[in-house]
């Protein structure tokens, strides 16, 4: 009898019971809520044929909306990287009055409904708002109803993702590596640049990926502050809503699919980048 046959005969004992039941529930749940609907999205556009999908996506308004969504998400993520690092550093490494409150407040964008955030940011950055008025008076900047407004909303939405992914890594970092660098003669800036930052880089990248994915698809907090002028401040999710209102299901699905494919491609690139950074580390 061959070895594989022997292995095949070995009775498979599951030490912890419940696999059948829990896996059954899980598969039903995932299948009905996630897999089938997303399959519908993947299939629907092709009712138009390949040429039809291409034509539907090549409309200047679609291209502009995708560019606005992805551009603003990228900008917001780039702004959020240093801001998130700063906040994570403050929570973990600094001790000042109000640190605990700061720690809780960071999760606000997670628990504040997006529509609420949207009208709040609009009120804040409107030309007569608390921040909008001084910005207008001092620099002549208008934030609300411009692309800058979209970026502001996406910064708000994405900030906690970066803080919360960097924070545990920073906590785990301990003092060892920094102390070792000091005993080897490194100055503080050298230690931060050559030791601390590279060690945080994978977490920063992960957080950036999460924040970016969230920002690309964000709707509620953006549509109030964006102004929604076609070709200027119209985001891709809004275009989906507009096409649905015109009962152009396939066209809406085409935009949705394009968004998903694009953002997964970007996440994949981030993932590969991260793997390069992590090489050698498990």
């Amino acid at each position: 009898m061959s070895a594989t046959a022997l292995l095949g005969r070995r009775s498979r004992v599951a030490p912890v019971p419940g696999l059948g039941l829990t896996l059954g529930i899980t598969l039903a749940w995932v299948g009905l809520i996630v897999v089938i609907p997303l399959a519908a999205l993947a299939i629907k556009p092709w009712e138009l044929g390949v040429a039809g999908v291409a034509q539907s996506l090549a409309e200047p308004r679609v291209l502009s909306a995708l560019a606005v969504s992805f551009g603003a998400a990228l900008l917001a993520t780039l702004v959020n990287l240093p801001l998130g690092l700063l906040l994570a550093w403050a929570i973990v490494r600094l001790d000042f009055p109000g640190r605990r409150i700061l720690d809780s407040v960071i999760d606000l964008p997670f628990s504040l409904p997006t529509a609420v955030a949207g009208i709040a940011l609009t009120a804040l950055f409107a030309p007569n708002g608390w921040l909008g008025a001084p910005l207008m008076a001092a620099f002549g900047w208008q934030v609300a109803y411009t692309q800058a407004g979209i970026a502001v909303a996406l910064i708000f939405v994405g900030l906690p993702f970066i803080v919360r992914t960097v924070e545990p890594v920073l906590r785990d970092l301990g003092r060892d590596a920094e102390e070792a660098a000091a005993t080897l003669g490194a100055t503080r800036p050298q230690t931060l640049g050559r030791v601390v930052l590279p060690m945080l880089a994978p977490a920063l990248l992960t957080g950036a990926g999460l924040a970016f994915a969230r920002a690309v698809g964000e709707y509620g907090s953006v549509i109030f502050i964006a102004g929604n002028v076609p070709m200027v401040t119209e985001i891709a999710p809004l275009l989906i809503v507009i096409r649905l209102e015109q009962f152009d299901y396939a066209g809406a699905a085409a935009v949705g699919l394009a968004m998903l494919v694009l953002s997964f491609a970007i996440l994949l690139i981030l993932n590969l980048l991260q793997r390069r950074l992590r090489r050698g580390r498990r």
Binding site: A14, P15, V16, P17, T22, L23, I25, T26, W29, V30, V34, I36, P37, A40, L41, K44, L86, W89, A90, I91, L102, S104, I106, L108, S111, L112, P113, T114, A115, V116, G118, I119, A120, L121, L124, G129, W130, L131, R175, E179, A181, A182, T191, L210, A213, V216, G217, Y219, G220, F224, P237, I240, V241, F247, Y249, A252, G256, M259, L260, S263
Partner: protein, 281 residues
């Protein structure tokens, strides 16, 4: 000597002060001011006006609908989340990584796309549209659609908070319980659940907050029928677009309060979980 000594991992006092000050400034501008703006705008015409706007018939209907949607969504995702976490953390089966990826997928899908997928299936021109129409069943522009879209959007919360903790705790205790003769349900309720209850509660809170506050996904499937398919966030949008700012911000303030309560509860839960973990270590 001790006053002059600065540990190797510490920055200069001025640098620390500068960092702390900028962190607080960022948090105030980006996080606290928007929240303050909601309440300021809601109270601009006085508390009675705000309360009046909330007690308006349509607002009350929106609140009722929001509660109904959350009451269905949370238990569904709680059950699914626990089952998934158990299967992934405590058992072995092929395709585990694919399953985990699928569970986390809704986090990286736009809520609008989430709503869209259900329109594609249940909408008038969707796969099941004609069949449903023939039987006079409304899914899209009705409560079932709202529930489905909300379940999709809040799908990963419970699973994501409980799964890593269960994985970290390993299977030792469950295996020990099994050797002592406990049944599957006994193992879960007496061994696993006590170990993850804080995380579970925290996941439920987040799931609930998002379910009540979801906007994009329900906006697509709702049809915005006042008094019928309007949840609170959608009602905020309608009032806002009708320039009824006081009413919009009053309802928004109620939602913001919900967010604040969630935040406070979550902070307390994390604290409780952290203290327990610290005590066990």
């Amino acid at each position: 000597m001790s006053e002059r000594f600065r540990p190797a991992h510490a920055d200069a006092p001025w640098a620390r002060a500068l960092l702390a000050a900028s962190a607080v400034l960022v948090a105030i501008v980006m996080l606290v001011l928007p929240l303050a703006a909601v309440f300021a705008e809601a109270l601009r015409r006085g508390l009675p006006v705000a309360i009046g706007a909330i007690l308006d018939e349509d607002s009350l209907a929106a609140i009722r609908l929001t509660l109904i949607v959350a009451a269905i969504t949370v238990p569904v995702n709680l059950a699914g989340g626990i089952a998934a976490a158990w299967a992934v953390a405590k058992c072995d089966f092929p395709g585990k990584r694919v399953l985990v990826t699928l569970i986390e997928l809704p986090f990286s899908v736009s809520p609008v796309i989430a709503g869209l997928t259900f329109v594609l299936i249940f909408g008038a021109q969707g796969w099941l549209g004609p069949w449903l129409q023939a039987r006079d069943i409304q899914v899209i522009f009705a409560v079932p659609g709202l529930v489905l879209a909300t379940i999709f959007v809040t799908f990963p919360f419970v699973a994501r908070t409980v799964m890593p903790l269960m994985q970290e705790q390993g299977r030792d205790e469950e295996e020990a319980a099994a050797t002592l003769g406990a049944s599957g349900f006994q193992i879960f309720s007496r061994v696993t659940l006590p170990n993850v209850k804080w995380a579970l509660l925290s996941g439920v809170l987040l799931c609930n907050a998002r379910a009540m506050g979801e906007f994009g996904a329900v906006s697509v499937v709702s049809g915005h029928i006042r008094g019928e398919t309007n949840t609170m966030p959608l009602h905020v949008e309608i009032l806002y677009n009708e320039y009824q700012f006081a009413g919009a911000f009053a309802v928004a303030a109620l939602l913001a309060l919900l967010g604040l309560v969630t935040l406070a509860a979550k902070t307390m839960l994390d604290h409780a979980a952290g203290r327990r973990a610290g005590g066990a270590a």
